[in-house]
C-alpha cells in the first residue's frame, strides 16, 4: 500500500506493513507445512471450504478492524451475526410472501440502526465502547434464543434458491463468498486510504481530542464506523446462514467477536487505535482458519485449537513489541 517506498530506498517500511508481510510469510509457511504433512489440505474441497470460511469471517473482522482503527471496539458482532441470521430465516418462514432480498434489506436496515445506536451511545452519552457492545453481545444472543424458543431454525433451499446459492455455490471454482469479500474489500481499501474521512478515522484513533480540535467531525465518523461494522456483520450473517442452511441460536457466531479481534491484532491493528491494515486483517483471519485445519490435519485433538490460537496471538504480540522496540532505537 505504500507504493512510493521504491522511490526513496532509505525510507523504512512502516511497522504495520512489516507486520503484515511477516504474517503473510508465517501463513504461507504454515500452509506449506500442513500440506506437506497431509496433501488433502490442498484438495479442492479443503481449499474451497477454507476460502469460504475466510471470506465470511473477514467480512465482520474488517468491520471490527475499522472500529478498532478509529479507537473503539465492537464486541457485539458474534451475537449480532447470530441474531441477524436467525431473524432473517424467521422472517422468511413467518411471512411467505417475503422474498429473500426484501428480508435481507430489512435485517440490514435493522443492523444499521443497531450500529447507529452503538455509535450514539459511545459518542454522545460518552459510554465506553467495550461496555456498550458487551451489552449488545449479551442482549442479541438472548434475543436470538427468545424469538426461536431456543430451537434451530432452517430455511428451505427449494423455496429460496438464491439464498442457498450465495453460501454454497462456487463460480469458476471459487466460492461466491470470496467474490462478495473482494467486492467489499476494494471500496473499503479505497475508503480508508484514499478519502479524507478514511484518513480521519486513523487520526481519530490515534488522538480523538486533537482531531476534534482540528475541526474533524469526530462523532459522525465514529458513529459511521459502528454502522459499517454492523452492516458488514449482516453480510457475513447472511452468507453463513446460507452456507449452513440453518441457525442454532445458542451456538451460531459464538466467540466470533474474539476471532475478529484476534485477526485484527494479528493483522497489525493496535487496540489503542490509530493503526491497522485491512489486508492484514484478512491474512489474520486466514491464519486462524488455517490453524484450525492444521490442528485437524496434524491429527492433534481439536481441543488444542484454542490453545494454539492463543499462543500464536501471544507470539505475534511479543514479536511486535520486540521488533518495534528494536526499530525505534535503531
Amino acid at each position: 500500500m505504500t507504493g512510493e517506498s521504491k522511490k526513496k530506498p532509505a525510507r523504512k517500511i512502516n511497522d504495520v506493513t512489516l507486520q503484515v508481510l511477516v504474517m503473510l510469510g508465517v501463513l504461507v509457511t504454515l500452509m506449506l507445512a500442513t500440506g506437506a504433512t497431509n496433501p488433502n489440505f490442498f484438495s479442492t474441497f479443503s481449499l474451497v471450504s477454507i476460502s469460504r470460511d475466510v471470506a465470511i469471517m473477514s467480512l465482520f473482522a474488517l468491520g471490527q478492524a475499522i472500529v478498532i482503527i478509529s479507537g473503539g471496539i465492537d464486541l457485539s458482532v458474534g451475537s449480532l451475526l447470530c441474531f441477524i441470521g436467525v431473524f432473517n430465516i424467521v422472517l422468511l418462514n413467518r411471512f411467505s410472501g417475503l422474498s429473500f432480498v426484501e428480508a435481507s434489506l430489512m435485517v440490514s436496515a435493522m443492523a444499521g440502526l443497531i450500529g447507529f445506536i452503538h455509535g450514539v451511545l459511545v459518542c454522545y452519552l460518552k459510554l465506553q465502547p467495550f461496555l456498550v457492545t458487551l451489552c449488545s453481545l449479551l442482549a442479541f444472543r438472548g434475543l436470538s434464543r427468545v424469538i426461536t424458543a431456543d430451537r434451530t431454525v432452517a430455511f428451505d433451499a427449494k423455496d429460496y434458491p438464491f439464498f442457498a446459492d450465495l453460501g454454497q455455490e462456487t463460480w469458476l471454482g471459487v466460492p461466491i463468498a470470496v467474490y462478495v469479500l473482494v467486492a467489499v474489500l476494494i471500496p473499503l481499501l479505497f475508503f480508508m486510504h484514499w478519502t479524507v474521512p478514511g484518513r480521519y478515522l486513523y487520526a481519530i484513533g490515534y488522538n480523538l481530542e486533537a482531531a476534534r480540535f482540528s475541526g474533524v467531525r469526530v462523532n459522525a465518523l465514529r458513529i459511521f464506523s459502528y454502522v459499517l461494522c454492523a452492516l458488514l456483520t449482516t453480510l457475513a450473517a447472511i452468507l453463513e446462514a446460507s452456507t449452513i442452511g440453518s441457525r442454532t441460536p445458542s451456538a451460531a457466531g459464538l466467540a466470533y467477536e474474539m476471532y475478529g479481534i484476534t485477526a485484527a491484532v494479528l493483522g497489525g491493528c493496535s487496540l489503542r487505535g490509530g493503526q491497522g491494515s485491512l489486508i492484514g486483517v484478512i491474512i489474520g483471519v486466514a491464519m486462524l482458519r488455517v490453524i484450525r485445519s492444521a490442528v485437524i490435519f496434524f491429527e492433534i485433538s481439536t481441543y488444542w485449537t484454542f490453545v494454539v490460537t492463543g499462543l500464536v496471538l501471544l507470539a505475534a504480540v511479543i514479536t511486535d513489541v520486540v521488533v518495534r522496540g528494536r526499530r525505534s532505537s535503531s
Binding site: A203, N207, E209, G215
Partner: protein, 503 residues
C-alpha cells in the same frame, strides 16, 4: 563534611550518545553545597541527559562523577538517592490516590512491630511529614490526598520527598513550568532557603528571569557540549541567549513599527460560560496582539476553549469580522477563521503518532482534494511549503511529530492553522516548553500575522513575554476581567496587581 578544596559534586568529561545523536560530549560541571547552579540550553542541548545521568537513569560512556572527591557509579535511581542526589522531574511522579505522607514515604515507610509482622508506623510518618511540609512551606495536613493538590503544591510535595532522604544535591527540572505566578514565587523562595540550608541545587529552566534571580553560576549547554559558564555578575538574558544559540540574537522581541486597524477582528458580547460568575465583554482589533494574563485557574483557558467551540457556552454573542459565529462547534469556528492553538500541545494540538504532513494538513484536508478524496500530492506540497516557511526542523514531511522538539511541534500546530486563513488566532501558552530559538521564531510569526490583519489573543503565564509582545493586556482574576492595560501601563507590577485581585 566536605573535604577542603573538593566540590561536593563534580562531573568530569562525561559523554553519552544515543542512536544517531551525541547527547553529551565531554561535559563537565561542578556543584558545591549551598550553591545554586543554573543549567540552560535549547531543547536537545543535553540538559535532560545530563541530569538523568546524575539521577542514575542514564549511564555515561566516558568521564567520571565524583561526590566529595570520591568517584561514584550511579547505576540506578536507587544508587543516586542513596548518595543523596534527588532529581525532581518536570512531569511530577506522585501517586494521586495516596496521601501526601504516603507519597513522601513511598517505599520507605517507617515500621513498627516485630519483623514478621511489620505495620506502618503512621504516627511517625505523619509527624515527620509535618516537619517536612513546614520546611517546604506547604500548610496542609499530611493526610490530604495528592489529587486534591494544585500542581504547585504537588511540586512542594516532591521537594519534601527529596528532603526526606536527606538530599544533599537537589536537581530541579523546569520546576515552575506549570505553576501559577504566586506558586512560582513561593518555589523560588523555597529554593533560596534550601541553599541557605546547605543543599547543592542544580536548577534547569527555560525561564531566564528565574536563572538571573537565583543562580550563583550558570552553565550553558549547546548541542551536547559545554558552551560556557557565567558567574553571578555576568548572568543576563543577552549573554545567556547568545551562548545558547551560539550567535547574538539582536533583539529578542523585535517588532517593527505598526498600527492596528480600527476594525474589529473579534467581538465578544455577554459571553457566559458554565460556572463563571459573570459574562464577559471584550474585543480585539485586526492586527492587534492582546495578551491574556492572570493566574493559573483565572479562567482564561476555559474561555478560549468555549470561544473555539470545544466546550459549551451558556449565552452570548461572538462576532468575527462583524459576522455572528454559531457557538459550540469548532467546525464553524474554523470556517469563520477563529482558531485555537490549545494549551496541551500533545493531547489537543497534535496527533503525535502521525506525520508532520498529516498534522499540518489535518484541518485543511477537505479543501485539498476534490469530492472528499485524499490528495497525497497536495498534502505533501502544503507540508513542505510550511516546513520551509516556518523553518520546522524535521528530516522530512513523513517524520512522526512525536520525534520533534517542543518548539518544532508548536510550529506544526501553527502551520495547521496558517493553512486555514486565520482571522482570529487564540494561543494558549504557546511557548511553554519551547526553547529560546523557536520562541523568537514564534514571536516573529505572530508579529507577521498581526501585520496581515489577524487579531491575536495570547494566553501566557510568562510575564516577560506578555509585556514584550502585547499591544494590550486583558487581566483576569477569578473568572472575571479585572482590567485592561495598554501602552506604558503594561508593567509587571500593574499586571500582578490586577491578577491577584488587588484594588
Amino acid at each position: 563534611m566536605t573535604t577542603p578544596g573538593c566540590p561536593l559534586l563534580s562531573v568530569k568529561g562525561i559523554s553519552k550518545h544515543f542512536p544517531g545523536v551525541q547527547a553529551l560530549a565531554e561535559v563537565s560541571l561542578e556543584l558545591d553545597a549551598g550553591e545554586i547552579v543554573g543549567l540552560v540550553g535549547e531543547n536537545g542541548a543535553g540538559k535532560s541527559t545530563l541530569i538523568k545521568t546524575l539521577g542514575g537513569i542514564h549511564q555515561p560512556e566516558t568521564g567520571e562523577i565524583r561526590l566529595e572527591g570520591e568517584t561514584v557509579e550511579l547505576l540506578s535511581v536507587r544508587d543516586s538517592m542513596a548518595l543523596g542526589i534527588s532529581l525532581i522531574h518536570q512531569e511530577l511522579n506522585l501517586a494521586e490516590n495516596l496521601s501526601i505522607a504516603e507519597n513522601i514515604f513511598l517505599g520507605k515507610q517507617p515500621y513498627r512491630g516485630p519483623r514478621w509482622f511489620q505495620m506502618t508506623d503512621r504516627r511517625v510518618m505523619y509527624e515527620r511529614s509535618r516537619e517536612l511540609l513546614s520546611r517546604v512551606g506547604l500548610d496542609m495536613s499530611p493526610r490530604t490526598r495528592v489529587q486534591k493538590l494544585s500542581v504547585g503544591q504537588r511540586q512542594l510535595v516532591e521537594i519534601a520527598k527529596a528532603l526526606s532522604v536527606d538530599a544533599r544535591v537537589l536537581i530541579l527540572d523546569e520546576p515552575t513550568s506549570s505553576l501559577s505566578l504566586t506558586e512560582a514565587r513561593r518555589l523560588l523562595d523555597l529554593v533560596k532557603t534550601l541553599r541557605e540550608d546547605g543543599v547543592a541545587i542544580l536548577y534547569v529552566s527555560h525561564r531566564l528571569g528565574e536563572i538571573i534571580e537565583l543562580c550563583d553560576r550558570t552553565v550553558v549547554l549547546r548541542d551536547g557540549k559545554f558552551a560556557g559558564s557565567l558567574e553571578r555578575a555576568e548572568i543576563n538574558t543577552d549573554r545567556i541567549v547568545s551562548l545558547m544559540v551560539g550567535r547574538d540574537i539582536e533583539k529578542f522581541y523585535h517588532r517593527s513599527e505598526h498600527k492596528t486597524s480600527e476594525k474589529t477582528a473579534l467581538e465578544v458580547r455577554d459571553f457566559q460560560i458554565p460556572l463563571a460568575p459573570e459574562s464577559l465583554n471584550f474585543s480585539i482589533h485586526r492586527g492587534e496582539i492582546v495578551g491574556f494574563a492572570g493566574l493559573v485557574g483565572a479562567g482564561r483557558t476555559e474561555i478560549a476553549r468555549a470561544l473555539f467551540g470545544v466546550d459549551p457556552t451558556l449565552s452570548g454573542k461572538v462576532l468575527i469580522h462583524d459576522k455572528e459565529l454559531p457557538l459550540g462547534n469548532p467546525q464553524h469556528s474554523i470556517r469563520a477563521g477563529l482558531l485555537l492553538v490549545p494549551e496541551d500541545r500533545k493531547e489537543e494540538g497534535l496527533v503525535l503518532e502521525e506525520t508532520v504532513a498529516a498534522n499540518i494538513s489535518m484541518a485543511a484536508l477537505p479543501k485539498l482534494g476534490a469530492g472528499g478524496l485524499y490528495n497525497r500530492a497536495a498534502v505533501q506540497g502544503l507540508a513542505s511549503r510550511f516546513i520551509e516557511a516556518l523553518s520546522i526542523r524535521t528530516w522530512g514531511a513523513d517524520q512522526k511529530v512525536l520525534n520533534l522538539s517542543g518548539g518544532n511541534q508548536q510550529k506544526v500546530v501553527l502551520a495547521k492553522w496558517l493553512a486555514m486563513e486565520p482571522r482570529v488566532l487564540i494561543l494558549d501558552e504557546p511557548t511553554r516548553g519551547v526553547d529560546v530559538g523557536a520562541k523568537s521564531e514564534i514571536y516573529e510569526l505572530l508579529f507577521d500575522l498581526a501585520s496581515k490583519g489577524v487579531g491575536i489573543l495570547m494566553i501566557s503565564s510568562e510575564m516577560e513575554e506578555v509585556i514584550a509582545i502585547s499591544d494590550r493586556v486583558i487581566v483576569m482574576h477569578a473568572q472575571r476581567i479585572r482590567g485592561e492595560l495598554s501602552g506604558g501601563d503594561i508593567t509587571e507590577e500593574n499586571i500582578m496587581k490586577l491578577a491577584i485581585g488587588d484594588h
